[in-house]
């Protein structure tokens, strides 16, 4: 009888202890479930944010490439304009030099014609030498003009 009473008491206390443990674990599992749910929601939110950031990164990269291209095109235009301006300056300078040489040629020819009109006023040797100088001057001017025309024709 004593043993039966002891057994009953032991089993009762054991049952009580397990019941308390089960209640504790159930509370823990509910808390863990709540944490898991919150974490899943956070994960979903993070994934959505990550996807948005990826799209933003992709857009930013496309924009960077486009801006780099725009800068490159502006640079190409700038260099082309600089080259054209340099070209025009060089042509203008060359044309000026050719014009000056041709003008000198014309003036020298005028002087020569005037001298040939009154040859008795000049030494014949000096006159011939001057005529040669005028011819050389005009040949050089003509060659410079031809070279300019050839360059412009290229």
């Amino acid at each position: 009888m004593l043993a039966l009473g002891g057994t009953t008491t032991y089993l009762y206390r054991t049952s009580q202890a397990w019941e308390a443990r089960a209640a504790q674990y159930e509370a823990d599992s509910l808390a863990l479930g709540a944490d898991l749910s919150t974490t899943r929601q956070d994960l979903d939110g993070s994934r959505a944010e990550l996807e948005a950031v990826r799209e933003q990164l992709s857009t930013a990269q496309e924009r960077i490439v486009a801006l780099a291209d725009e800068k490159a095109q502006v640079g190409d235009d700038r260099e082309a304009q600089r080259l054209v301006a340099d070209y025009q300056a060089r042509v203008s300078d060359a044309a000026g030099r050719v014009a000056s040489a041709l003008d000198e040629c014309v003036q020298a020819q005028d002087t020569l014609i005037e001298a040939l009109g009154t040859p008795e006023l000049y030494d014949q040797v000096a006159l011939d030498e001057f005529a040669t100088q005028v011819a050389d001057l005009c040949t050089a001017a003509t060659e410079a003009n031809d070279a300019l025309q050839t360059e412009l024709g290229q």
């Binding site: 039966l4 008491t9 089993l11 080259l83 290229q154």
Partner: protein, 251 residues
């Protein structure tokens, strides 16, 4: 004591048979979250560069060639563009014809930064050139050990028509003798579409390694590339690249 009494009584009731005695619960588990869990392997490495751009883009450069003027100092001005790619911190590879007759080379990176070019040397037997820069380039490529095989997928990274940086895919469709320079020997043919301005573009394999350099195309829109083994051979030979001639007259 109580448990011993209970066990003895139960044994007595059961006639010495083996019986499982309910035990009192042990210490309660309070931490259900493991400190170490298996980490899932990433399915993709993504773009893990400092700014998210692919390495293939970061190594590419755009080259503007401001040409020499004629010896008479009047005409002959030219402006052209090409592509190139870095193989070292301040070293890049392009085509010889991209840097030919140059008064000035203007190099820019994938993100539009200007990089000053200091020296240029060109190869005699292949349409290749090496350009040195003063500022460091964003990144540089590694050269593959072998040429790509027939059918291999390749990616061309460059600036077709001098426009935006572009990645174009294609496959190696064969090899042929160099149509422009018979001394070069065999070159590779791909179906990757290239345009003027693509010259000097890196040709990459699936691992992102350089397997060739674009230098020409034909009427069938096939592109010709200098194989990486040729590039390697020339780079390893000190005498294969010589200083590019300077303009006789600068603009």
């Amino acid at each position: 004591m109580l448990r011993a009494v209970a066990a003895a009584s139960v044994l007595a009731l059961a006639g010495c048979a083996s019986v499982d005695i309910p035990r009192m619960p042990g210490p309660a588990v309070t931490d259900f979250v493991p400190t170490a869990v298996p980490v899932a392997a990433p399915t993709s490495v993504g773009n893990l560069s400092p700014d998210g751009f692919q390495e293939a883009q970061r190594m590419a450069v755009r080259i503007r060639n401001v040409g020499c003027i004629s010896s008479t100092g009047i005409t002959g001005y030219t402006l052209s563009t090409g592509s190139g790619f870095a193989i070292g911190p301040t070293t890049l590879i392009t085509n010889r014809h991209v840097v030919a007759d140059s008064a000035e080379l203007q190099v820019s990176t994938y993100d539009g930064r200007d990089v000053s070019a200091t020296a240029t040397s060109t190869a005699a037997i292949a349409d290749l050139a090496v350009v040195r820069t003063t500022q460091p380039l964003p990144t540089y490529a590694s050269l593959a050990a072998d040429d790509p095989a027939l059918g291999d997928e390749v990616t061309v990274v460059g600036y077709p028509d001098g426009g935006p940086l572009t990645l174009t895919r294609g496959r190696v469709i064969g090899s042929t003798t160099d149509p422009l320079n018979e001394n070069l020997g065999q070159v590779l043919v791909t179906d990757a579409a290239v345009e003027p301005g693509s010259s000097g573009s890196a040709v990459l394999d699936s691992a992102g390694q350089v397997v060739g350099v674009v230098y020409a195309k034909n009427a069938s829109d096939q592109s010709f590339i200098v194989p990486v083994t040729t590039l390697r051979t020339l780079l390893e030979d000190d005498g294969s690249f010589v200083d590019a001639p300077a303009c006789s007259s600068l603009p």
